[in-house]
C-alpha cells in the first residue's frame, strides 16, 4: 500500500514538548484527510504522539522506529 504524504516535519533533536507543539501547528495547515509525517528523536514523543492523537481525534496511522529516529504518520481528522 502506498500513501501520499502531504507534509513532512523533521523534528529530530527537539525535546518535549516542542515536537507536539510543532506538529499541532503543522496540522492546522492541512486539509481533512491529508497526512502529516513526523520524524523525532525524543523517546517521550512515542507516548506523547499516541496521547495527542487520541485527545485531538487526528488518527495516528503509522508509527515506528529506525536507529533511534521515531517516525509517525498522522491523518488530519475529517470534521
Amino acid at each position: 500500500m502506498s500513501i501520499t504524504i502531504a507534509m513532512s516535519l523533521d523534528l529530530k533533536g527537539l525535546s518535549c514538548p516542542l515536537p507536539i507543539v510543532k506538529t499541532a501547528k503543522a496540522m492546522k495547515g492541512l486539509a481533512p484527510g491529508q497526512l502529516l509525517e513526523v520524524f523525532a528523536t525524543d523517546p517521550g514523543s512515542v507516548p506523547d504522539f499516541k496521547a495527542w492523537s487520541m485527545a485531538t481525534g487526528n488518527p495516528l496511522v503509522e508509527s515506528g522506529q529506525d536507529g533511534g529516529v521515531f517516525h509517525f504518520v498522522l491523518k488530519k481528522k475529517e470534521f
Binding site: S15, I20, V21, A24, K25, K28, D48, W52
Partner: protein, 378 residues
C-alpha cells in the same frame, strides 16, 4: 592567544563568567561586560512579585556592585556582532573588538506574536509581574486561566508554581471559593517531565486547580474573553495569564548568529558556537534543548569560563564540559516545595514536597546576591 574578552549581557551567566575569567587571567586579559541597563535583575523573583510576596526593588542591584573590580562594565546596547572582523558595534556608535566573545544576551518575550493577546497578563517581566499583581488585587472572583503561548519559555516549572501560589493568594483573600483556576498545558500532563507531573497532578486536584491538556494557545479574543488552542478548543476567562512566546535578542537576529528564533547554535558540551571561532554562548541565548533558566546559565558559566581562560592562556581546551545539569525548585503552595534535578543522562526524581525545600528556595533567593554572580557556588 587573545587578551580582549568581551561578554554581552550582565545577567546571571554573563556576570559569573566575567568574574571567573577576571579572577583567573586579569593580568593577561581585559574583561568587559556590555549590558544595556547596567542593572542586574533576579528574574526568578518575578513569580513572587506577581502574587505580592516580593517587592520589585529587592530584585534589582547595580551590575557594577556584582562584578570584580578588574571587570569593565559598559552600559550600552550591543546592536551588531561582526564575527568576521571580531568586533561588536554598540548603539552609541562605539565599536569594541574581541579575541573571545561570550553571548549571554538571554531571551525576550514577544506577546504580540499571539493574535489578540496584547492585554494578557504575564509574570515573565518586571512590568508584567507588577501589572498582574495589581489585577489580582482588584480581582473579586471568576475564572483565572493560565496558558502557554510558546515553547521554549523561561523556567519550565513556573506556570505550575504560579497556579499553586495563586491558589494560596486567593485563599488568603477568602475569595478562592468564588474563583476557578484553570491551567492549560501544551501536553497531556501538568509538566514536561513525567515523574514530576505525577507528583504535582494529585496536588493540583487536591487544591481544585483544573488541568486541561494539549492546549497550545494560538489566539485570544479579548472582547469575548476567550482563548483558543491550536488543537481547536476554546475556553472562557475573566483574567488571562499567558506564558508569552520567547525568542533570542535582536542583536543575535540582526547579526545572523542564531536560528530563525534567534537561538544561538552551540556545542551542548563545550558551549562554543557551532560555526564561529572564538564565540561562545550560554543560558537562554543558546539552542540547546534544555530548560531556559538561571540554573542552566549558572552551571554552564564555569564551563564557558574555563574554555575562555584556556584560550587566553593559549592552553588546550579543558576536559570540563557541561553535562546538562539543571536544578530548580518547584513551589507547590501551602509553604511547601520540591526540587527538580537532572542532566543529559539522568532524568529527575523529585522528592515529596516539604517545607524544607520551600525554605531552601527562599534562602537561595536571599543569598543569591552574595554567592551566585561572584561564582562562589559551584
Amino acid at each position: 592567544m587573545g587578551n580582549d574578552v568581551l561578554i554581552l549581557g550582565g545577567g546571571v551567566g554573563g556576570t559569573i563568567v566575567a568574574n571567573l575569567v577576571a579572577k583567573e587571567v586579569a593580568d593577561k586579559a581585559r574583561v568587559t561586560v556590555v549590558d544595556s541597563t547596567g542593572v542586574h535583575v533576579y528574574q526568578p523573583g518575578f513569580l513572587y512579585v506577581a502574587v505580592g510576596r516580593q517587592q520589585p526593588a529587592a530584585l534589582r542591584r547595580p551590575e557594577s556592585e556584582l562584578l570584580r573590580h578588574e571587570v569593565n562594565l559598559v552600559v550600552d546596547q550591543a546592536t551588531f556582532v561582526d564575527a568576521a572582523n571580531q568586533k561588536v558595534v554598540l548603539r552609541s556608535g562605539r565599536t569594541l573588538r574581541y579575541d573571545e566573545l561570550l553571548l549571554a544576551t538571554g531571551s525576550r518575550t514577544v506577546m504580540d506574536e499571539v493574535p489578540g493577546a496584547a492585554g494578557a497578563h504575564d509574570f515573565y517581566t518586571m512590568d508584567g509581574a507588577t501589572r498582574l499583581f495589581k489585577a489580582l488585587q482588584e480581582f473579586k472572583g471568576g475564572t483565572i486561566v493560565i496558558g502557554v503561548a510558546g515553547i521554549p519559555y523561561k523556567c519550565p516549572p513556573a506556570p505550575v508554581e504560579f497556579v499553586f501560589l495563586l491558589d494560596d493568594y486567593l485563599r488568603a483573600r477568602h475569595i478562592r471559593e468564588q474563583s476557578q483556576i484553570k491551567l492549560l498545558s501544551p501536553l497531556n500532563r501538568a509538566f514536561t517531565i513525567e515523574t514530576t507531573s505525577k507528583l504535582v497532578q494529585p496536588i493540583l486536584a487536591e487544591r481544585g486547580i483544573e488541568l486541561t491538556g494539549f492546549f497550545n494557545v494560538e489566539t485570544v479574543d479579548p472582547i469575548a474573553k476567550t482563548v483558543t488552542s491550536l488543537e481547536g478548543e476554546t475556553i472562557a476567562y475573566d483574567l488571562l495569564v499567558l506564558v508569552p512566546p520567547h525568542r533570542g535578542q535582536k542583536v543575535i537576529e540582526d547579526s545572523n548568529l542564531g536560528d530563525a528564533r534567534g537561538w544561538v547554535p552551540v556545542d551542548k558540551n563545550t558551549l562554543r558556537h557551532s560555526n564561529l571561532e572564538h564565540v561562545w554562548a550560554i543560558g537562554d541565548t543558546t539552542n540547546i534543548p534544555i530548560s531556559k533558566s538561571g540554573s542552566v546559565a549558572h552551571y554552564e558559566a564555569s564551563v564557558a569560563a574555563d574554555g575562555i581562560v584556556a584560550e587566553v592562556k593559549g592552553e588546550k581546551a579543558p576536559a570540563h564540559v557541561y553535562d546538562g545539569k539543571v536544578m530548580c525548585f518547584l513551589e507547590t503552595g501551602h509553604g511547601q516545595a520540591t526540587t527538580i534535578r537532572f542532566d543529559y543522562d539522568h532524568p529527575p526524581v523529585s522528592p515529596s514536597p516539604s517545607r524544607l525545600w520551600h525554605w531552601a528556595k527562599l534562602l537561595f533567593n536571599k543569598t543569591y546576591w552574595h554567592t551566585v554572580p561572584q561564582g562562589r557556588l559551584p
